[in-house]
């Protein structure tokens, strides 16, 4: 239907043009007869021109001209009043011999003679035209579709082929083979995707590597107390013993169980930290308070070793932090200081205020930490001196937990370069300044620069 109307309006436009053409071709010959130049065949649509039915009449109905195609048939009968005077009138008309035509008429003035020009084409033409067009469509459409499909498919395939290759490669990359990477062939968007994917793979590989190492290290650490429990128990049962001996054996096994429990707790803490499951309870408080609390807990241990414990610093250096976590970190570090300092040594914990940070420096007079170990000391399960530390009851997780406890609050911790013997741990936390734009301009800057 749409096709019909489309063709119909096209025909109308064509006929209008045709009519105008005719207007220019009419002339009066020597016998004062209206004639039409019919040698106009260069127009590409000249084939259709042959089908043209043309009639020229006066406003009163007198026939001035009929073309050969029309012959003697009347085209549309007497003129309608005002036919073609305004614009082009289109009508469907039935000729005397039954032919249905589309007609367009327009008024014209030639040599002073008013006339109405009527141009018509048989409707069959349209139907035929429609039929032709439909046929053309029907025939070509599938072909066009097929071609489009093929071409489209081919194009898409070529464009997506690299993606397909990437997907196939990605499929092969499993947790065991994270070191593989995707091929990056082009620099366009596909290349960008490949790069991004490779970056993700690199990060995953690193995380997996860490996880594997951690799991492996944790398992080894768990094995030690387990072995002790087993050995002590098995040996204990080898022969009959006194009640007191049995008590000792069971007691010894229970001690190891306690050690295991502590280890499991530490591991749980770490895995929770890794999963980011910690909820911080932050309050504003002077950092030196946390130092005092931690120190009061372990001061008795320092006393036992005849060590001096020095505390102090800026009482007004405030931090917005989780008090428990900060205390835990300080406890770990202070306890280490006490453990690894000789009897009679001294340990200090001083709070310093920088322009935007609060520093807590914990120094001892122990053996210090070798340069190469300064950053590794925070690694999980790392112990500077393997043999000594295990006896002292450590498993190497204390400092890594301390580091996490500080970093999760937006701070940092590292080992400073100490010119004298011993070592200094520096905890750095963001300074919390109350709404008053305080800032004592002469806030003390920390004396030693942090080493990397």
């Amino acid at each position: 239907m749409i096709l019909y109307w489309h063709l119909r309006s096209q025909l109308y436009r064509y006929m209008v043009v045709d009519l105008e053409t005719v207007e220019g071709l009419l002339y009066y010959n020597a016998n004062r007869e209206l004639q039409l130049h019919e040698d106009y065949y260069s127009h590409p649509e000249s084939k259709n021109v042959q089908e043209r039915l043309l009639e020229v009449i006066t406003p009163t109905g007198e026939v001035l001209f009929r073309n050969d195609k029309l012959a003697h048939r009347s085209l549309g009968g007497p003129p309608l009043s005002g036919e073609g005077e305004v614009g082009y009138l289109q009508r469907s008309v039935r000729l005397s011999d039954g032919t249905r035509v589309f007609m367009v008429s327009h008024s014209h003035l030639l040599n002073g003679q008013p006339m109405i020009i009527r141009v018509a084409y048989a409707r069959g033409l349209i139907s035929g035209s429609i039929a032709e067009t439909l046929a053309a469509f029907a025939f070509s459409l599938p072909i066009v579709l097929i071609i489009t499909a093929l071409v489209g498919y081919g194009l898409a395939k070529r464009a997506l082929d690299p993606l397909g290759k990437m997907a196939a490669r990605a499929d092969q990359i499993t947790a065991e083979r994270l070191n593989e990477r995707l091929p990056v062939d082009d620099t366009g968007e596909i290349g960008q995707v490949a790069h991004a994917f490779n970056d993700t793979l690199a990060r995953l590989e690193q995380s997996f590597g860490q996880l594997k190492r951690f799991t492996s290290d944790a398992s080894h650490e768990l094995r030690t107390p387990l072995t002790l429990i087993r050995s002590v128990g098995e040996v204990g049962l080898q022969t009959d013993r006194t009640q007191e001996e049995y008590r000792e054996i069971i007691g010894s096994m229970l001690e190891e169980v306690n050690r295991l429990s502590g280890l499991v707790d530490s591991l749980l803490t770490i895995s929770r930290a890794d999963a980011g499951e910690t909820e911080l309870c932050t309050v504003v408080f002077p950092a030196v308070d946390a130092v005092r609390e931690a120190a009061s807990l372990i001061e008795i241990l320092a006393e036992e070793k005849d060590q001096k414990l020095l505390l102090g610093g800026d009482e007004n250096a405030l931090v917005l932090a989780d008090r428990l976590l900060l205390r835990q970190a300080l406890l770990n570090i202070l306890h280490n200081a006490v453990k690894y300092s000789p009897p009679g040594g001294s340990i200090s914990a001083i709070v310093l205020r920088g322009s935007a940070s609060v520093f807590v420096d914990v120094s001892d007079t122990g053996a210090g930490i070798p340069d190469k170990d300064r950053t590794r000391v925070f690694d999980r399960f790392y112990r500077v001196d393997q043999a000594r530390s295990r006896e002292a009851g450590g498993v190497g997780l204390g400092l890594s937990i301390a580091k996490w406890a500080i970093q999760v609050q937006g701070g940092d911790i590292h080992v400073l370069n100490n010119p004298d013997r011993g070592c200094t741990f520096r905890i750095e936390l963001p300074l919390h300044s109350p709404s008053a734009q305080s800032a004592k301009k002469n806030a003390p800057e920390p004396q030693s620069l942090p080493a990397v």
Partner: protein, 236 residues
Amino acid sequence: MRLNIILPVKILVVEDESKLAAALKAGLEESHYSVRVAHSGEEGFFLANREVFDLIVLDVMLPGRDGFEILGTLRQRGFKNPVLFLTARDAVQDRVAGLDLGADDYLVKPFAFPELLARIRVLLRRGVIDGPTRFELADLEMDMVRRVVVRSGKAVALTAREFEILAYLFRHQGQVVSREMLARDIWSETSRQVPLDNVIDVNIARLRRKVDDQFADKLVHTVRGVGFVLREGVSS
């Protein structure tokens, strides 16, 4: 003549792990409780309906049925007495969930048995104002009001911390007190800290030095692997 029949306290233990159930039953019976064991939630309901229990120890990590569900249902069905639940999860929300559902106390596994005993004692004693003003064991005397400790007539000078520890040992006289209990109740530390264990040991050592060293009869004992206990010991 009036017969004072003291009925033993009846405890229901709901625990599916048979080794642990057997250990709990044995341990509680040795502390003179009467114990029934249920190995599943359903069995627990059944027993709780049939008999009267003074306290229920419920492991919430039961297979199948959610232990907390059982807790809720027990309460709904009208069990009014104390419930202590055992859990391996120490996350705050799990503990709170249990307490919200009607439990009175909880213990995180692995727990020290003395601590279970201590908590059961506390739960059963609810409503009774405790706080004796004097403790006595052999020739050791402790006056809580005047904050004075005397042994064999001679004053013993203790630090505040040592005083608290001795009072705690006296309150649990004859029962083993674990380091965790001391950490929790005296130092108010909930996490198991390695440094704290050492601190506790040092404190106990000092307390012992002051209270026991000069005397033949040792009162502060270490039970290896478990904790400490205040009792008249066998002189070594």
